[in-house]
């Protein structure tokens, strides 16, 4: 409940800021035409009304001390979240997205499959690495070689050369 309230309030502040931001940065429109700022501003007005109603609903549901209780457990919940598999999973996905181009598809995919597989409970290392290698090879060969989809080879010279080597040994049709 506390998280819901915080998210709603953050969106509300963001919406109010965006209302003024779009109003000041867009050129003034003629009086009989719908300008570039009016459509987003109309959406924001409706959004603010809906958010206010939703916040009222959260506050109403949080009476009888429920909301206060929820705020009290916010800190322990946050600590639990940062220690959870979910947070680690989110971090792995984010790191993978950042390394995708510099390290190239093959290295990123292999590292991602191993780390996420481990996170999801696979503890047999040989099996995990073997599966990851096979899936990486299948994905790379299917998409980059057979379907002609451009996948990043990486900015690191030896990784790039390795990707080029793999592509050169597979016959294309």
């Amino acid at each position: 409940m506390a998280i819901e309230l915080i998210v709603n309030l953050l969106v509300l502040f963001g919406a109010v800021f965006s209302y003024y931001y779009v109003g000041t940065t867009m050129p003034k429109s003629p009086v009989n035409e719908l300008g570039a700022e009016q459509w987003p501003q109309a959406i924001i007005i409706l959004l603010v009304i809906a958010l206010a109603y939703n916040i009222y609903g959260v506050l109403k549901r949080g009476r009888n001390g429920k909301l206060a209780e929820s705020f009290k457990s916010l800190a322990p919940d946050a600590v639990r979240f940062f220690k959870s598999k979910l947070f680690v999973g989110m971090s792995i996905v984010l790191v993978m997205s950042l390394l995708y181009e510099p390290l190239g598809f093959m290295t990123t995919c292999l590292m991602f499959l191993i780390s996420y597989g481990y996170l999801l409970g696979e503890r047999r290392w040989v099996r995990l690495v073997l599966f990851s290698l096979v899936i990486t090879a299948i994905l790379y060969i299917s998409f980059a070689v057979f379907l002609g989809v451009l996948l990043p080879r990486g900015d690191v010279p030896f990784l790039r050369n390795f990707a080029l080597f793999i592509e050169s040994i597979i016959p294309t049709f």
Binding site: L34, W39, L86, V93, G117, G121, V149, L151
Partner: protein
């Protein structure tokens, strides 16, 4: 007839036919995997289309979509886990049938009914789309705005228990659609000085993030394996699909016809899709049945109704997409994005200038629904083994497939980052009980709505905005559609208030 010949020419070319067979296998497999919805199956199919032209791409994606909706029923029957949300009602009677040792019969019936629904809607699409296109050609920007607004008006009906949150989600999607260069003036809007946002929020990475990454994140804390009914080891390889006899199918002709018609009509409605169609058909048949008490105990009608309805909705959802350029649902929205990426201009002129799109979609749907029956028999045997693959392998592979799809949109790493962020935001959205489908609907339709509305105001007579609004509303088609939209938009809220009042009065 010309359209049909054109479609056969496109789809039955050896390479295309092979691609459709591949799409059917992929789609059935994706659909059968719990956690991979029909929309996600189409999303995961996008990277395969990058090397294709627009016509082949739509034929391929349509085949995946049809097959995924059917594949979802298999897990519903064998595991009581709907592979796709639209297969949820199939579990009510499919699983009890499997428990009674009639899993093969249930699977066979599910396949035949899915094929009947799919074929019926494909024919409807072929007949209706050109007529709707002809009517749509007389539409001006005001009418086109009203039609696209009709898609948005369904927002309040998407989740009747959470109307306010669903509307907030839709509005957030609309606001996201405003980011980037203004469609008419070409000035940066809501970009906060960042050049990365100038091209706007790319739809495909956001959709992939919302549907694929969020789903895997949601499953991160869940058990890794599934068990098939009647076998503790999860090894159900002996399950053999048993096709129903002609007599059995014929005995349900009225039900099949009703559900095919209703499913197609629901599919045509923007925003309503296969899930609504299957639930609606199930409850409709329950009400019409002479023995409603038997529903839920494992009867054929309980499988036939939702499976015919959800597959009929697939064809229906393609009607507004092809004839008006308005997606009928999430999967259609993704197909639309994939086509736009290929430089195809969606709208009424598409079928006039390039009728091969309708022809290819119809023939692909037709071929997919026929091939699907045979493919699914093979897959039904094999996929129990696929499901035995632990999620520790399957989950990360889904994310990597999604990553390929996001990156290949523009060969830009920024889209992979956008996908990752969208996945995390999607998770927060779900946690806060907002509706990610509504957000996507807002994002896709917002751009179409805004450009048409602003064009309508530019053309309209009036010294002020208010006068121009009256001028726009004087157009009869616009007025009728807008009144309809208003009714659709407020009716769930009114219904809820009435129910509350009734409860208070009776208390």
């Amino acid at each position: 007839m010309d359209l049909l010949m054109m479609g056969i020419e496109v789809v039955f070319a050896p390479k295309m036919l092979l691609l459709i067979v591949m799409a059917v296998f992929l789609g059935t497999l994706f659909g059968a995997l719990p956690g991979v919805s029909g929309t996600m199956a189409v999303t995961l199919g996008i990277p395969f289309t990058y090397g294709m032209d627009g016509v082949s791409a739509i034929a391929f994606l349509v085949a995946i979509y049809c097959a995924a909706i059917t594949g979802g029923g298999m897990t519903a029957i064998l595991f009581k886990i709907p592979g796709v949300p639209s297969s949820a009602p199939t579990t009510y009677d499919g699983y009890p049938m499997a428990q009674q040792g009639k899993a093969g019969k249930a699977l066979g019936f599910q396949l035949i009914c899915s094929a009947i629904g799919g074929l019926f809607s494909a024919f409807c699409m072929l007949l209706l789309s050109p007529q709707l296109t002809k009517a749509a050609l007389s539409f001006g920007p005001a009418e086109l705005f009203a039609v696209s607004f009709m898609g948005l008006s369904i927002l309040s009906s998407l989740d009747s228990d959470n109307i306010c949150r669903t509307i907030i989600s839709g509005l957030l999607g609309l606001l996201l659609g405003c980011i980037g260069l203004d469609p008419l003036l070409g000035v940066p809007r809501l970009t906060f000085g960042t050049r990365f946002l100038n091209s706007g929020v790319e739809m495909i990475p956001v959709m992939i993030g919302f549907f694929a990454v969020t789903e895997v994140l949601k499953q991160t804390n869940k058990p890794a394996k599934l068990k098939a009914v009647g076998n503790d080891e999860g090894n159900n390889a002996k399950t053999k699909t048993e096709m129903p006899t002609f007599k059995e199918v014929w005995s349900m002709k009225a039900l099949l016809l009703r559900c095919s018609i209703v499913g197609t009509l629901i599919g045509i409605l923007p925003g309503a899709g296969a899930t609504i169609a299957s639930f609606f058909c199930y409850s409709m048949e329950l009400k019409l049945s002479k023995h409603p008490e038997k529903f839920g105990t494992g009867i054929m009608e309980g499988i036939a109704a939702p499976e015919t309805g959800n597959n009929a909705a697939t064809g229906g959802s393609m009607v507004p997409l092809l004839s008006l350029g308005i997606p009928g649902g999430n999967a259609a929205a993704i197909m639309m994005s994939a086509l736009v990426l290929k430089g195809v201009t969606m709208g009424p002129l598409l079928l006039i200038n390039q009728p091969q799109y309708l022809a290819a979609t119809f023939t692909s749907m037709f071929a997919a629904n026929v091939i699907m029956v045979f493919a699914a028999i093979i897959i039904a045997k094999a996929f129990v083994k696929v499901l035995a693959i632990p999620y520790s392998v399957l989950g990360p592979t889904i994310i990597m497939l999604a990553t390929i799809g996001a990156y290949s949109t523009k060969n830009a790493a920024v889209d992979v980052k956008l996908m990752a962020i969208a996945g995390i935001v999607g998770f927060i959205v779900v946690t806060c009980k907002f509706n990610s489908s509504a957000m996507i609907l807002g994002l896709v339709l917002g751009i179409i709505c805004e450009s048409n509305l602003r064009r309508a105001y530019t053309i309209a007579d009036g010294a002020t905005l208010l006068e121009a609004t009256f001028d726009i509303l004087q157009r009869p088609i616009t007025l009728v559609i807008m009144i309809f939209c208003l009714i659709v938009l407020i009716s769930p809220a009114v219904k809820k208030i009435m129910e509350k009042k009734k409860k208070t009065t009776s208390a």
